[in-house]
C-alpha cells in the first residue's frame, strides 16, 4: 500500500515538471515586461534596468529556466515581484483558503449529485426523473460565474436590501469586517456564512454532472442479479437501494472525482475572483495581470501537485469502495 503510493507519486513527477516547464515558457516568452510596473514618471530608466537585473530578467531564457527549476526543486520559488515577499510564504498563507473552498464544494457536489442521481434512478421515467433530468442539464450548461451572480442577487442583495431576510448571505470575502470582535461561536458561524455562496456556486454545476453520471450508474446496477438476490431475501426496498445498489453504483462515480479536480480548480479561479475569496485562483489571476511571474509559475506548480494528490486520493478511495481492487 505505502509502496503503491510512493510509486504513484514518483510516476507523477514528470507530469508536474512538464506542467511547470510549459508554464515557465508561456510566461517567459510572452510579450510584456514585468519590470515595467516600476516605470513611472519620475523613475529613471537606470532604476528600472536595475530592477530587471534584480529580477534576473536580463539573462537568456535557458539560463533562467535552469536556475528557476533548480531553485524550485529545492523548495525555493523566488520572491513575488508585486508583494516583495517570498512566494512560498504567500502560497502557504493562501493555499488553505482554496482547500477549504474546494473541499466543501466537492463534498456538496458529490453529496447532492449522488442523492439526485439515486432519486432519479429509483423513479426512472417518472415526472420526477424528467424534471430532475432537465434541471440538472440546465445547471450543467451554466457558467459558474453567472450562477454565482444570480445567487448573490437573490440571497445577498435582494434578501438583505429588498426582502429584509435576517439570514441573508454575505457576497464577498471570507469573514465579516467585525470578525475579530465576535465570540468564538459567532466567528465559526461567520466563516460558514461566507462559505455558503461560493461553494454552492462551485458545487451546483459539478453536482449536475455527478447526478447525470450517478443516475446512469444506478440504472446499470439496479438491473444486476445481486439486486434481485437482495429482493429475494425479503429485504425492504429501502435497504436494497441504499445498502446494495448505492454502494456498487458509487464505484464508477469515484473515478469522476479525479476527472473533476481540474474542472473544480478552474472553477475556483472564477469563483474566488467573483467573491473576492483570498485563494489560489484569485492569487493566480491577480498575479497574471500584474505579471508577477514567480507567483504564476509557482501557482501552476501547486495546482499540478493538487491534481496529482487528488487523483491519488481518488484511486485510494476506489480501492476502498471496491474490494476487488487491491493496490500492491
Amino acid at each position: 500500500m505505502v509502496g503503491y503510493i510512493v510509486r504513484r507519486l514518483l510516476a507523477a513527477i514528470p507530469l508536474v515538471l512538464g506542467v511547470a516547464t510549459i508554464v515557465f515558457f508561456v510566461v517567459n516568452l510572452a510579450p510584456g515586461d514585468p519590470a515595467s510596473i516600476y516605470s513611472a514618471p519620475g523613475v529613471s530608466p537606470q532604476a528600472v534596468e536595475q530592477m530587471r537585473q534584480n529580477m534576473g530578467l536580463d539573462r537568456p531564457i535557458h539560463e533562467r529556466y535552469v536556475r528557476w527549476m533548480g531553485a524550485m526543486l529545492q523548495g525555493d520559488f523566488g520572491i513575488s515581484f508585486s508583494r516583495n515577499q517570498p512566494v512560498r510564504d504567500v502560497i502557504a498563507q493562501i493555499l488553505p483558503n482554496t482547500l477549504i473552498l474546494s473541499a466543501s464544494a466537492l463534498l456538496l457536489a458529490f453529496g447532492a449529485g449522488i442523492l439526485i442521481g439515486v432519486v432519479q434512478a429509483v423513479r426512472q421515467n417518472t415526472f420526477t426523473d424528467g424534471a430532475l433530468s432537465v434541471g440538472t442539464l440546465f445547471f450543467y450548461s451554466m457558467p459558474s460565474f453567472w450562477l454565482a451572480l444570480m445567487l448573490i442577487l437573490i440571497f445577498s442583495l435582494y434578501a438583505r436590501n429588498v426582502w429584509g431576510w435576517p439570514l441573508w448571505l454575505p457576497a464577498s470575502g471570507m469573514v465579516s469586517v467585525d470578525h475579530n470582535a465576535m465570540g468564538p461561536w459567532e466567528q465559526v458561524l461567520d466563516r460558514l456564512r461566507h462559505l455558503v455562496l461560493p461553494s454552492a456556486s462551485l458545487a451546483l454545476v459539478l453536482a449536475a454532472g455527478v447526478a447525470r453520471y450517478m443516475r446512469g450508474s444506478m440504472l446499470e446496477v439496479i438491473r444486476q442479479d445481486y439486486i434481485r438476490t437482495a429482493r429475494a431475501k425479503g429485504l425492504p426496498e429501502r435497504t436494497v437501494i441504499l445498502k446494495h445498489a448505492v454502494r456498487n453504483a458509487l464505484i464508477p462515480v469515484v473515478t469522476l472525482l479525479g476527472l473533476y479536480l481540474p474542472v473544480l480548480f478552474s472553477g475556483t479561479v472564477v469563483i474566488e475572483t467573483v467573491f473576492a475569496w483570498p485563494g489560489m485562483g484569485k492569487l493566480m489571476v491577480d498575479s497574471i495581470f500584474q505579471r508577477d511571474y514567480p507567483v504564476v509559475m509557482a501557482g501552476a506548480f501547486v495546482f499540478a501537485v493538487m491534481v496529482v494528490v487528488g487523483n491519488l486520493v481518488a484511486d485510494l478511495l476506489y480501492a476502498a469502495v471496491d474490494p476487488r481492487i487491491r493496490y500492491e
Binding site: 442479479d225 431475501k233 429485504l235 426496498e237 446494495h244 456498487n248
Partner: protein, 290 residues
Amino acid sequence: MALLEVKELRTWFEGEAGTVRAVDGVSFSVGEGEVVGLVGGSGCGKTVTALSVLGLVPQPPGRIQAGSSIRLGDLELVGASPRELRAVRGRRVGMIFQEPMSSLNPVYTVGEQIGESLRLHRGVGRREARRLCVGLLEEVGIPEPERRRRQYPHELSGGMQQRVMIAMALAAEPELLIADEPTTALDVTTQAQILALLARLRESRGMALLLITHDLAVVAETCHRVLVMHRGRIVEADSVEAVFHRPRHPHTRSLLDSLSPLKGETGQGEADLEGGTGDGTPVGSDGSGS
C-alpha cells in the same frame, strides 16, 4: 395439501414491439417436501414463472394478469402488499439463481450477506448471526468457514459461490426452495456436487424444492415430478418415470431426443464422483455431497 398452488398464472411483458406473453396460463402445485422439476428450452417462461411466485418480475414492463393466482399455504401472493411479499421472500420461500458470481453482491463479504438474512428473518444480533453463519457455511460444505466468512465473493470459486447462495437461501429455514438453473453456470463436476448438496439439504430439512432447469438429466436424478414448459404453457406434467418413458407431447420428445447423446456423459461424471450408479435415481436416496 399443496404447499404452493399456482393457477392460471399469466405474466405478460409490454414492449415497444407488442405484448410478450412470457407465461400464459400456467397451473401447477408443489406439495410439502416434494421435489418438482420445471423443464423447458430457453425463453419458455420458466424463470418468469419462478420470479412471479416471489413477486420479483420487474414491473413495468412485466405484469401479472388478473385471474392469476399463486397460493402459498393459505396466503394469496398475487396482489399481496409489498410488506406481505417481503414476509414470504427469503423467510418462507428461498431462491437461488443461475449465475452465483453475479448474484452475490461484490462489495460485501460472504458473512455480511448471509448474516443480513439471518438478522432479518431470525431476529438475531450481529454476534449470534456470525455464529449461525459459520454453521450454515459448514452445512453447505464450505471448508474453513471462519476464514471464508470474511472473504468477498470474487475470492471464491463458482461452486463455492453457489454454496454461499444456498446458505443464504437456507438462512431462514424456508418451506420451499426455488432453484433457478442452479448448476448451469458451473462445470460438470461441480454441478453434480451442488445437486447432491441440494438433495441432502432437502432431505435433512424436509423442505420442498422447485428445480428449474433445461437439463432433463438433472431432473431425472433429482425430482419426483416433472412439469414441461413450452412457449409459456405447461405442456406435460407427470411423474419422472411417466414423462421419461411415455412422453406425450412432441416438445417433450424433442427435449428427450436432444438429451440422449449427452446423457451418458453427464451420468458418467456423476457416477465417478459419487461412486454410485449414476442413472435416474430419485433424490434423497443418496446424498454423499462433498
